[in-house]
Symmetry: C2
Subunit: 350 residues, 2 copies
């Protein structure tokens, strides 16, 4: 299995090598061979080549079987022109170029960490939601322009577009995912206001006929934000458009209280991309403080989703759980009475 | 003071009269005269006239000094065409016709109710946020259309527009509000992706020069959703565009755990509109179960914001607090050891 490594910025270059160590250990145990090749992305790529997403990086991705990304961005590149910034200039074009139309974001609470949430323990313990966010459509990739107004000042105009096909392919993933879990799909939209949401809802309803065994419901996005706080355990699989998904996935991960633990996958194209949901955390970079678990669990997701190596994925997840149950913690999830470990030491324990 | 009453649907016709009783009591005590006139809106208006926002209703609003709205909508009208539904056909056109470009939504936690939240008590006790949502621009009022695609299926397209003037007037309210509170303003946008957010941020930055005493910060909307869950007390005043505001105001109110307590004001035009943030709750309508406090506190906001009657507003708020401290509760906020009251009895206690 050929894996492209894109460490990126901040703590990225620290955490990606930890996941590599874990993949090598699991490969040795189960007799699998992983080949790694590294490329630049984000601010690091801009500094070296003048562009945050060099053509070589895209090419490496295209000829790999899966991609593991660390994180991109940092204050150093915040004043560049938008199209050269790590987020706008690398992340979004990478998603589009590789056709990664669905972002899978689990929000799960491990029993040993239920106390880490700002929500009451009974509200979040055992939480297990899977949010599927459409990732290559909507406002993110609409037309954008500015114009000067005759009366002074300016006007910014951008478009939000969705087609039947775009909705259908991501909704289908939602139904399929629900089948693998608790058979319940919540489609989130704003059909009382948006035309794109009405199309979204119609397409989802139509597709539901192919999945009579899946219980489909609809919820407006404002209510979904409330319900995630009021009673998050009511949800199994959620599917929504790009911008709503951006907001709701971050909200859902914060419910767990430990975003340093959460992996993600972006799929739909020929090669899938795996990354921790947290950012590049420049403030703690280079100090052996970063929590490598989200990246390690992203590698487990890769084994499961891209390579079908279920046993190997479970081996990694079991190792993470066991280390947590033994009381080992990185600084971000440290609790009284536990043992604090650095990035490297946590990886070794796992 | 001439007040237009728009009870609307569901529990609306039950709670609006409670606020009227409280206004009459406060008027008697402080020697103020309130005149009330009632008009139809929402499903009730549709049933009686064939349209959810009759012209007479708009006219009554225009010749009043303030408007008190109950709630609109219900399953009975959900299958009407969008432009006839209570929300799309009445609420949005009413906001636009009256020029109500700013929605003020406080999210506060009363000491006696800190336990009602799903968040841990120390995270929310003493919470006091004011969110200002732009209410007449953005995706809500953009162009919308559908087209058939040559390859089959359809495409929905809508526009998100903001002008300098639209951003400036609502941002100005944000700065002014911050001055009356803790002098901190958080502007929420998605400037790393949206052109309208970049315009938003530029206009807010420019305006900040007139308010050197207000501490201005910016936050992306996905991060704002996370931070509201992680540490909501970091915020004082927040200001954001229409769709983000729809999501974040509902999220923020759910943090308090008692949305039956939260008022709102929509301002900017010649006459302002006050309403509880909760919906029409058709399931409990007509049973003397609804919590009238959000509507009563909306009336207090009206006295303060539209009529400048600060003492009278405080008298209402003090009465609500005192009744809560004496242990009286409606069903939605009932706790062990407290005394449960119906809609009418709660109002009488206040
Ligand atoms: C950095 C930003 C452009 C990006 C997004 O909005 O998609 C991020 O928030 C994410 O969710 O991956
Ligand atoms: C009913 C709906 C159109 C409305 C909105 O989205 O503005 C509601 O959610 C609100 O916040 O007042």
């Amino acid at each position: 299995y050929k894996i492209a490594l894109l460490p990126g910025d901040g703590i990225g270059p620290e955490i990606v090598p930890q996941a590599v160590k874990v993949l090598e250990a699991v490969g040795e145990k189960y007799n699998r061979e992983f080949q790694f090749e590294t490329a630049l992305i984000g601010g690091a790529a801009y500094d070296a080549t003048g562009h945050p997403l060099p053509e070589e990086t895209l090419e490496l991705c295209r000829r790999s079987d899966a991609i593991l990304l660390g994180a991109v961005g940092g204050p150093k590149w915040d004043s560049l022109e938008p199209h050269l910034r790590p987020e706008r200039g690398a992340l979004l074009p990478l998603r589009k170029a590789l056709g990664l139309y669905a972002n899978l974001r689990p929000a799960t609470v491990k029993p040993s960490l239920a106390d880490a949430s700002t929500l009451k323990e009974d509200i979040v313990s055992g939480l297990d939601i899977m949010i599927i966010r459409e990732l290559t459509g909507g406002l993110y990739f609409g037309q954008k322009h500015r114009e000067d107004l005759p009366e002074g000042g300016q006007k910014a105009v951008e478009t939000l577009e969705y087609s039947t096909a775009e909705v259908e392919r991501v909704a289908r993933l939602g139904f399929e995912m629900a089948r693998k879990r608790d058979n319940r799909l919540m489609s989130v939209d704003k059909a009382n206001v948006l035309e794109s949401s009405r199309l979204w809802r119609e397409v989802v309803e139509e597709l539901a006929k192919e999945y009579p065994d899946v219980e489909l419901s609809h919820m407006y996005v404002d209510n979904a934000a409330m319900q995630l706080v009021r009673n998050p355990k009511q949800f199994d699989v959620m599917v929504t458009e790009n911008m709503f998904g951006d907001i709701l996935t971050d909200l859902a991960s914060q419910l767990t209280g430990s975003i340093g633990m959460l992996p993600s996958a972006s799929i739909g194209g020929e090669v899938a991309l795996y990354e921790p949901i947290h950012g590049s955390a420049p403030d703690i970079a280079g100090q052996n403080l970063a929590n490598p678990i989200a990246t390690i669990l992203s590698a487990a997701m890769m084994l499961r989703v891209s390579f079908g190596l279920e046993q190997e994925a479970q081996a990694i997840e079991a190792a993470v759980n066991s280390v947590l149950e033994q009381g080992y913690r990185t600084g971000d999830i440290m609790q009284p009475g536990m043992t604090s470990l650095g990035t490297v030491e946590m990886t070794e324990a796992i």
